[in-house]
């Protein structure tokens, strides 16, 4: 299957730290791809380069055939990102928050309202859509963050530690949403250090440590002879030191 996201020998230095040291990976449409690693491994930086927030120092990234360096706006049209930091505009309603991002994503004026209604219904947000965001719970805000990331219906969805600030119920909803998106043919990239989630959800994983890929492939293959992914992960990270 053709890769939706292709990262090739990516390098990135932030301040005095060389964060990425030649990362390569491929994520495909219709799968959940796990980007795993301990804190500080370079997962978030990798995602930020993929979605064009940061530029690569060396190597290349393309998303559905668009180079992040030369066609960043085309890449951003095709990517939706959900992070653990669920910042929303507090004085706008949930609906207004979503509509703002829909408009900025280039959705035609006549289409905005319909698209916003669709995501509100899909994420079951009708009960609080008109409330100001400052009065919403963390779980509700996370739904707003997801809604604004998917309102332009991007073919690539990236989740960066999306459940780290959420309770059990809200986390469950996020996981269900990722599975549903995969079923819709989206390329879902899931960055996490919660290996239990990754093992349950991901079709393929790449484990990175200190800016380098230490293992990659189908989840079962990476787990190999170990009892679970966590044992495999610890063993691989230890070997890489």
């Amino acid at each position: 299957m053709e890769a939706a996201v292709r990262v090739d020998r990516l390098e990135k230095t932030l301040g005095p730290n060389k964060v990425l040291r030649g990362i390569s990976l491929e994520a495909r449409s219709g799968e959940i791809f796990g980007l795993l690693g301990p804190n500080g491994a370079g997962k978030t930086t990798t995602l930020r380069v993929i979605c064009t927030l940061l530029g690569p120092d060396a190597g290349s990234v393309d998303v559905l055939g668009f180079d992040t360096r030369t066609q960043p706006e085309e890449v951003r049209r095709r990517v939706g990102v959900v992070t653990a930091e669920i910042g929303v505009y507090p004085r706008l309603s949930a609906r207004e928050n979503i509509a703002y991002f829909a408009e900025l994503s280039g959705i035609l004026d006549g289409e905005v309202s319909r698209r916003v209604d669709t995501v509100i219904e899909r994420l079951d947000m009708g009960s609080f859509a008109k409330q100001r965001a400052e009065s919403l719970s963390s779980g509700q805000k996370q739904k707003v963050a997801i809604a604004r990331a998917i309102v332009h219906d991007p073919p690539v969805l990236m989740f960066d530690e999306p459940t780290s600030n959420l309770d059990v119920l809200a986390s469950r909803e996020i996981r269900d949403f990722m599975v549903e998106s995969k079923g819709r043919g989206k390329c879902v990239i899931f960055s996490t250090h919660v290996l239990h989630d990754a093992e349950r959800l991901c079709d393929r994983v790449t484990i990175i440590h200190e800016g380098r890929v230490v293992a990659g492939g189908p989840t079962a293959e990476v787990r190999g002879r170990y009892q679970d992914l966590e044992d495999a992960f610890l063993s691989l990270v230890e070997a890489a030191r």
């Binding site: 951003r76 990517v79 990102v81 910042g87 505009y89 408009e103 900025l104 994503s105 280039g106 963050a145």
Partner: protein, 378 residues
């Protein structure tokens, strides 16, 4: 530019729902007339207020009438020098040699009473001399060999009003152009970062320059509204306050249509420049509070040029001075208020200077807004 319009609409909606900004604008509009009312009440009371003169000795005949007519109440005291320290406003000792006056210059009431006393004594001396000369058959006009007739080219009351306005109007215009939109500027820059919404915003395909233009436009509009609201309320208040008498009628301060037009034009330029500058500073900051700390020095920068008109009222600079941002706006406004005409060359230089300043501030804000460090620094 569609993205700029979308951002502008959203920012305006947020600003209009932000109590901090609305309260700041409302307070400025209310505070200005209140301050002017207090100033006018104090000055009116000062003019009408009577002061006490403590005296000892025998007062020359007729002098007491002049004292009473000038708002100086006479009071017999044992020691005028001691009494002038606190008990009365000035102390006088009448003796054969003449008059000794005691007053404390650190007391404002003593200063005013002294001025009134000098005026009385001048009149009294002139009247006594004239009476003596007449008694000896000499025309008293010999004491005034060069009679002077004064013909003011404009109403002195109006001149005093214009002088007042030439300081206050630029001061309020500049201060409100800066502070009226400051909260909104920091909220849309440092606040965006603090709320963790910046990353999501920059993930949209909208060009960052257009996003920034939308933000600057929104802040400029709020600054402009704040400045015009404060000035309008000031002018309304001034129209109710009398600044002396001109041609038998109470003199009020008003702004000519020409001055109003120039003021609005300068307000637009200042608001756009300040919006770019404060957003640039806010983009440097990690949170709202840090943004406020960065913006604090701007208050001094704005107050200083307006003060020049107060302390050097006859400051007549060369054209080069009109290249200095903010000071040029103060000078142009002063010229149009005091003289009632616009020096078009000075206005053109001022416009060019403020447009260039705004462009430089916009460029700086854009550079800061598009650098990776904006997202990497937490």
């Amino acid at each position: 530019m569609k993205a700029g319009a979308i951002v502008f609409r959203k920012e305006m909606r947020e600003i209009l729902r932000d109590r901090r900004t609305l309260i700041a604008i409302g307070l400025a509009a209310l505070a200005t007339p209140l301050v002017l009312f207090v100033i006018s009440q104090v000055s009116t009371r000062t003019v009408a207020q009577a002061y006490t003169v403590g005296y000892t000795g025998t007062m020359p005949a007729g002098l007491d009438v002049l004292f009473n007519a000038t708002g100086l109440n006479l009071k017999l005291v044992d020691d005028p020098a001691e009494a002038a320290k606190q008990q009365v406003d000035i102390g006088i000792v009448f003796s054969d040699k003449g008059l000794d006056e005691y007053y404390d210059p650190t007391r404002q009431s003593a200063q005013i009473a002294d001025i009134r006393l000098q005026a009385i004594l001048s009149k009294y001396d002139a009247a006594k001399v004239a009476a003596s000369l007449q008694a000896k058959g000499v025309d008293p006009s010999v004491l005034n060999p060069l009679p002077v007739s004064v013909h003011p080219l404009s109403s002195p009351a109006q001149a005093a009003g214009n002088s007042f306005l030439s300081f206050f109007l630029p001061y309020i215009l500049i201060t409100m152009s800066l502070t009226g939109g400051l909260s909104a500027a920091l909220d849309t820059s440092a606040g965006e970062r603090e709320r963790k919404t910046l990353e999501s915003l920059l993930l949209t395909p909208a060009p960052r320059g257009n996003i920034l233009i939308g933000k600057i436009l929104a802040v400029s509009v709020i600054s402009l509204v704040a400045a015009i609201a404060a000035i309008t309320s000031m002018l309304i208040a001034l129209s109710q306050i009398s600044f002396g008498v001109s041609q038998g009628e109470p003199a009020h301060i008003g702004l000519s249509p020409l001055a109003a037009g120039v003021m609005i034009w300068l307000a637009v330029l200042l608001a756009a420049s300040f919006a770019s500058l404060t957003i640039a500073l806010g983009t440097l900051a990690r949170n709202f509070r840090q943004g406020q700390a960065y913006a604090t020095p701007l208050y001094f920068i704005t107050i200083f040029p307006a003060s020049i008109v107060l302390f050097i009222p006859d400051f007549n600079p060369s054209l080069a001075y009109y290249l200095i941002p903010i000071l040029n706006a103060v000078l142009v406004l002063r010229d149009v208020i005091v003289h009632g005409t616009v020096a078009w060359t000075a206005l053109a230089v001022t416009t060019l200077s403020l447009v260039v300043t705004g462009a430089v501030c916009f460029y700086a804000a854009l550079r800061l807004f598009t650098r990776e460090a904006l997202l990497v620094r937490s």
